[in-house]
Each structure stands twice: as C-alpha cells, then as structure tokens.
C-alpha cells in the first residue's frame, strides 16, 4: 500500500468519512474530527509512518491538505 493510500485510510478509518471528501476535510468540518479524533489521527499517523510528531506540528495539523505538508517534513512522501 502506498504512503498516500495509508494516509487516506487513516482519515477514513478515524473519522468515518468517504474517501471522496478528504480533499476538503478540516478540523471540525465533520463531527468526528474533534479533540479526541485529532489525537486518534495523530497516533494513527505516527504508527503508520513510524514518526514522532512535534507538538507544534500536532497543533498545525488542521486539514487533510496541511497534513501532507507536515508529514513531508518528516520525509514521508505522499504524492503518489
């Protein structure tokens, strides 16, 4: 499974949203992306990509799109 597929599945599994909605998904844009959901997503991504996110990056992780940029800083390529 590609990095991008794993990235998408983390959102789909955590927030129970269809894959087609991911491009515009942001914190609080769905009821399941609340503070508890946010931490579940961060844990899921750390485990999937074997990274340890900095606190500032957890704070800044505000959308599906922004998350790609943040994970890129950790060497996780999500463009394919």
């Amino acid at each position: 499974m590609s990095n991008l597929s794993q990235y998408k599945s983390a959102f789909v599994d955590t927030f129970r949203v269809p894959e087609g909605d991911l491009a515009t998904l942001a914190y609080q844009s769905v009821e399941t992306w609340d503070s508890l959901g946010h931490m579940q997503l961060m844990t899921e991504l750390e485990e999937k990509f074997d990274v340890e996110l900095d606190i500032d990056d957890i704070v800044e992780f505000s959308s599906f799109v922004k998350g790609k940029e943040i994970l890129g800083k950790y060497g996780v390529a999500l463009d394919g």
């Binding site: 009821e31 609340d34 503070s35 508890l36 931490m39 844990t43 750390e46 606190i55 957890i58 704070v59």
Partner: protein
C-alpha cells in the same frame, strides 16, 4: 415536583425564574396544578429524570419545549494517556487563576465563548443574558469553594477549568473551555483530563461532571473519560 424559586436568575437574566424537577410521585394532574400556580414566572425550567420520561407529554401540553438532555457521569479512574498524548500533555500546565486570568476568562465568556447551552440556543434570550448567567454561576461556585484554574499551553493562557469539592473525597468538574484562538488544536480532551486529574491529585476518589446533549464534542470526551453514567434528565422550558 420539587420546585425552587431561582432568585439568583434575577441577577443573571433579569427575570423571575422557577426551576422544578419531576419526582417519582408526580402525576399529570399534580404537574399541571403546580405549573398553573406560577403566574408570576418569566421563565420556567423543568427537569425530568429518565425514569419519569412518561410524564413529558404533560409538559408539552402545558406549553413547555424540550431543550436538552443533561447527562451526569462519574470518573473513578482515568484512562492512561498514550505516549503521544503524554508528550502533548507535557506542554500543558494548570494553576489557580490569578485575578487577571479570571477577568480574562469572564471577558471571553462575555464575547460568546459558550454557544451550546440552552440559554445561548434560545432566541428569546440575548447573548448578554446567556453570558451573564455563566459569569454569575462561576461567581457563585467560587463563593461555594470552587477553584478556577488557568490552563497554559506552551506558556500561553489558553483556557480554564472550574472544580469544586462536593463531599468527602468527591469533586465536581463544573466547567471547562478553550479560548477561541486555541480551539481546533486538539486541546479539548486534555483540559477535561486535566480537570479530573487535578481532583484526583488532591484526594478525590470520584469526580462527576454534567454535560449537555447539545455539545457533541463534550459528550464524546466524557464518554471516553468516564467510568459510569450516574443520571440523565430531559430539560423543558417555557417563557412567561
């Protein structure tokens, strides 16, 4: 019904308010009779414990409207934080609020910090009345021994929680909030966790809290943190 003339709401809302709770021995007739005596009421609030739910049609016939369900939960042991949560929580600190932090908290409340309570959602109340009620309530809880704690995240004042001892080794976590500029950062779970953890650190063996069905995020957090559900009540109201 257990009926209380909520005189403190004159200060908070500027209205003559009665609060009632339906009891086990109530009947449709007894409820209607008691409500008909409240001729000077500007606002009536009636709570219906779930076991008395069969009496809610009477309240609707008397012109009261459903507003929310209040759930009270108890925590006797907190779920452990995982390694990521521990890392995040390490950037959070709580301490009794200074006078300046208390003023700042009230300023945020008056600017509309809370939006899911039955007063904020009721178009017949102004935003000022809804905010006044929170500020008055917090003041009353501080007078009763409650302690307002300021929460800092990486050194910035981001929110607060309010707790009060309610009995031997028992505390209530009364209110918690994150200020608007710091919402959407995943902090909501932690401020509630911190409030409970603080109570346990000062000797509590059980901590309770009450949340509204209108606040799904709070419900989700307390569902995750709580050990058991203590009670649920339906809330009906009527303007005079």
């Amino acid at each position: 019904m257990k009926l209380v003339h909520a005189v403190w709401e004159q200060r908070n809302l500027g209205l003559n308010v009665y609060e009632a709770e339906v009891a086990e021995d109530d009947t449709p007739g007894s409820i209607s009779a008691q409500l008909s005596e409240l001729t000077d009421a500007d606002y009536i609030c009636v709570k219906v414990p779930i076991p008395e739910a069969h009496l809610t049609p009477t309240l609707e016939e008397e012109g009261l409207r459903f507003r929310e369900m209040l759930s009270t939960v108890e925590v006797t042991k907190l779920p452990a934080l995982d390694s990521l949560q521990q890392r995040y929580a390490s950037a959070l600190k709580a301490a009794p609020a200074t006078d300046a932090e208390q003023v700042e908290t009230f300023r945020h409340i008056r600017n509309g910090l809370f939006s899911t309570d039955r007063y904020s959602l009721d178009a017949q109340f102004t935003a000022e009345q809804a905010a006044n009620r929170y500020c008055g309530w917090i003041g009353d809880e501080l007078d009763r021994g409650g302690v307002l704690h300021a929460i800092s995240f990486k050194g910035k004042f981001v929110g607060f929680f309010l707790v009060r001892e309610t009995g031997p080794k028992r505390y209530s976590s009364l209110l918690a909030a994150i200020f608007p500029a710091y919402q959407n950062m995943g902090l909501g779970y932690f401020i509630n966790h911190m409030a409970y953890a603080h109570c346990f650190s000062i000797g509590a063996t059980a901590v309770s809290t009450t949340y509204s069905s209108n606040n799904l995020s709070a419900a989700n957090i307390h569902c995750h943190l709580s050990t058991r559900l203590l009670s649920q009540v339906y809330v009906y109201t009527k303007h005079g």
